[in-house]
């Protein structure tokens, strides 16, 4: 399934399916992007990052895609598992002060 970010939607997927979480970032000068996962009752945890000189980066079961033309970032989770249930945040940074700008998050619910 897919979702569009910057408001807090809920994406519901079946266990084993692939998930795609989308994020529309705000600043065309942003050059570093990060995805975080926040499980219930815990702090956000780093998942994967990507710099603006790349358009794709892969991790373990996760892939981040960056489309600078339309200022769009996505997180793909392969073979989604119940442990992937969480709120996912994208964040971007740019400029000399390197302040992170956070998206509003997407809640991912995995149905067994």
């Amino acid at each position: 399934g897919e979702s569009v970010g910057l408001h807090l939607p809920t994406l519901s997927v079946q266990e084993g399916d692939n998930s795609i979480i989308n994020c529309a970032y705000s600043n065309s000068a942003s050059d570093y992007f990060i995805w975080y996962k926040q499980e219930s009752g815990k702090g956000p945890q780093f998942i994967i990052d990507i710099r603006s000189n790349m358009d794709k980066r892969q991790g373990q079961r996760v892939t981040v895609l960056l489309n600078k033309t339309v200022k769009h970032l996505s997180l793909q989770i392969a073979a989604t598992q119940p442990g992937d249930s969480a709120v996912y945040f994208c964040a971007e940074t740019a400029g000399n002060n390197r302040k992170l700008i956070w998206g509003l998050g997407t809640s991912l619910a995995v149905n067994p």
């Binding site: 702090g43 956000p44 002060n97 302040k99």
Partner: protein, 112 residues
């Protein structure tokens, strides 16, 4: 070993009281942060310190005062607590500003 630790994890207090949340990181990072997360999961930066120097001070009431005795510690003191201060407060650190941020587990503050 916990990389970013904050105490207390839960805090219930009455309006008008003064309270502090303590934070320590053992990662050797130069930059530390305080974030506030509301009930809709929106993450808002409050303060950022780099090597004990304040570098980000977002628009927060001056009842909130951060203190960094050394670069491994960043405490948050809140005076005259109000109902609207109820939220989850996250401490975090990063090697330097704009790099990957590592979060603590959060402090759940409830003002009654």
């Amino acid at each position: 070993d916990t990389a970013v630790s904050q105490t207390p994890k839960y805090l219930v207090t009455q309006m008008g009281n003064d309270k502090s949340i303590k934070c320590e990181q053992n990662l050797g990072h130069d930059t530390m942060y305080w974030y506030k997360q509301d009930s809709k999961k929106f993450l808002k930066i409050m303060f950022s310190y780099n090597n004990k120097e304040l570098i980000i001070n977002e628009t927060v009431p001056n009842r909130f005062s951060p203190k960094s005795p050394d670069k491994a510690h960043l405490n948050l003191h809140i005076n005259s607590l109000e109902l609207g201060d109820s939220a989850v407060y996250f401490c975090a650190s990063s090697p330097s500003a704009g790099n990957t941020i590592y979060f603590g587990e959060g402090s759940w503050l409830t003002v009654v």
